[in-house]
Symmetry: C2
Subunit: 392 residues, 2 copies
């Protein structure tokens, strides 16, 4: 009999200290973000092959200095300060290097939170290319029962671009908010199991402002997108992810997506994948929708998503323009507006998929930042990714 | 937009009809038994390789007649009547054939219910061989806080052989029983999340009869076994399964085990694996604890478990002697007492791992029988496995 378990030695707390009520808090998230399926029911989506090329050390790059908020610091120091669990870099389609925190193993899955939105939008692009889904159609064409909700007069485009005039606040930390009801409906917090995610979504109401005018980041839109795609295709999201993205992409590890009490996929934030597979999605976008010589998603959709589409005015009216002053948001992807042409998917607690076309670089960063949102750190992270792109 | 989803076409009901309140009922269990992780939080245990040899049809065997309750019927008819989802047969260490219901894909995982107990006992045998776990020790040596429970004066041996004098009924269908509290603690039924599985186990009390006298099949014993092994080894059950069984065994697919609100593994019934990997465990037992030329568990432990150990008297005093009149129960495995020397693991709703040493046959059967327990069908199934062993 041992006093301290292997788990305690590794993570610094006991497994039974991690509960549905605290799993997204630090330090528990250093473990839970890699093990969401132990807390929230989840559906797998299989990969084609189980073989991943071995990890490559970042080597001397870790000791190089980057500008930071206070003073130059080493890449290694910045990765630690930003609570990085894993960093994987590609350049020109080749693996540059992998960095892992001591509490994460190479090949482990990690939740990507709202980069799940960007994945789901790729499915929308694929289904659009197949003529199965029309992004300009009214939501009620696919979900008639949304008629008396905020989505009753919204289009799928509004949902895709986060310009639904939705009366809902992303109050991540207030346990009494409508957001808390949302968290219960997704089974992410205790007390779920009575109201389904879809039922919750259909109770949401709109603001007076017209749809389409202002970028309003509201996660329920992205869960609704999943429901729209399921209705349009007649397929479950996990099956779409497997058949249309994971298998053709050549992902090497099974992914998973959290589901609610009736199996509705948490497309707004419930996907877990390995850092390498996350980077593969970025590389596919960088290749204009191609992977392994095979088309995954139409090139026109990628171009629209990462460079030409989206409303600068709507973005300016939103609350995130501080991060990308020249940016736009299209199909659940952020266009930075930088000279590098960079675009990205972003998830709370420090999840990033950063694609820099000019430097041919893709960076996947998975983290367990203690706060869901950290605006100051986000600004630093963007500068870091741009600097890193030039260094590799 | 399609009217009928791919899911409905395949299973005959909608995904959102399957809830935590009905997932083990027919017809929903035809899907849910292969997708437990969508209903109950689960921990994965990785396999070494992702490559499985392709399925082999059973061919003419399906048309052969076997004796059954009423009259001879074909193997195919019996498989259907017994709600088989998958059947895999090995002989002499070689794959003889695989049969799959239309609603199960080759390579899919399926819950094995109480064969999980037999897996967990293998871990106990391995840890005993390593000198880490003593099956004859008092339970309180590992779990001192069990002192005032039924386990306060029981040994691990009593737990392993189901001879704890436990005041607990396996009332699978009564929603008001202590069994219902157990189901909530495991998160298998709605209303869980307040009492942990371990807390529940420690509330159980004993009967007046001495421990060791009567075979009493009580699943909580087997959950306690998992807790005993975690305490003894300092490792989590999922990690033990991966490191000590799944990787050395050469299992080809990731398995999973359901966990409770604080991560305690459902060792009494929460493991899901593929039919092929289930058969591999049987073959390892048939090989006296060896797989791929490597020792998994001591041969003395296997011999004791499948042939020499266990109390015939305790078995006779129990309620399952009708199934194996000459049988015994040892280390969570059933010795049939047949001339074939057969032994097996059994799970509710028709899960079987049947090993027949005389005929060198291993049979894995996964099912979605509508009732958890069906004594009459069990008698038929045992006769079927014996007949099948001689036919292949």
């Amino acid at each position: 009999m041992t006093g301290r378990t292997a788990f305690e030695t590794r993570y610094g707390f006991a497994r039974n200290a991690v509960l549905l009520s605290n799993w997204r808090e630090s330090p528990f998230n250093r473990w839970s973000f890699q093990n969401v399926g132990e807390l929230v029911p989840s559906a797998p989506f299989a990969s084609a092959s189980g073989s991943e090329a071995p990890p490559q050390a970042l080597g001397g790059l870790l000791d190089e200095k980057v500008a930071s908020a206070n003073a130059p610091e080493t890449v290694a120091a910045f990765l630690q300060r930003s609570d990085t669990d894993a960093l994987t870099i590609m350049k020109g389609g080749k693996w540059v290097g992998d960095w892992l925190a001591p509490h994460m193993e190479f090949g482990a899955r990690h939740i990507i939170f709202s980069i799940s939105k960007s994945f789901t939008a790729i499915l929308a692009g694929i289904l659009e290319g197949e003529g199965v889904f029309d992004p300009e159609a009214p939501v009620v064409n696919y979900i008639p029962e949304a008629k008396s909700s905020a989505y009753g007069d919204a289009s799928c485009r509004h949902v895709l671009d986060m310009t639904v005039s939705l009366d809902f606040e992303e109050a991540y930390l207030d346990p009494e908010s409508a957001f808390a009801r949302y968290r219960r409906a997704t089974l992410w917090n205790p007390g779920g199991g009575s109201e389904s995610l879809k039922a919750f979504l259909l109770t949401l109401q709109r603001l007076g402002e017209p749809h389409g005018r202002t970028y309003r980041y509201r996660s329920p839109n992205s869960d609704l997108l999943g429901a729209l795609l399921e209705r349009a295709s007649g397929q479950r999201i996990a099956d779409l992810l497997r058949d249309k993205l994971w298998l053709p992409l050549g992902a090497t590890s099974e992914g998973s997506i959290a589901v609610d009490m009736e199996g509705t996929a948490r497309t707004a934030g419930g996907i877990s994948v390995t850092p390498r597979d996350l980077a593969r999605v970025g590389e596919m976008m960088r290749q204009g929708g191609m992977a392994n010589g095979r088309r995954i998603v139409p090139d026109a959709w990628v171009r629209d998503t990462v460079s030409t589409g989206g409303s600068f005015e709507a973005w300016q009216r939103g609350t995130m323009a501080f991060l990308f002053p020249k940016g736009r948001y299209r199909n659940k992807w952020y266009q930075t507006g930088h000279d590098s042409g960079a675009y990205c998917g972003i998830g709370i607690h420090g999840q990033w998929l950063y694609v820099n076309p000019r430097d041919e670089v893709v960076i996947a960063k998975m983290s367990s930042q203690p706060e869901p949102v950290d605006d100051r750190l986000d600004v630093e992270l963007v500068a870091f990714f741009e600097a890193l792109s030039r260094m590799v």
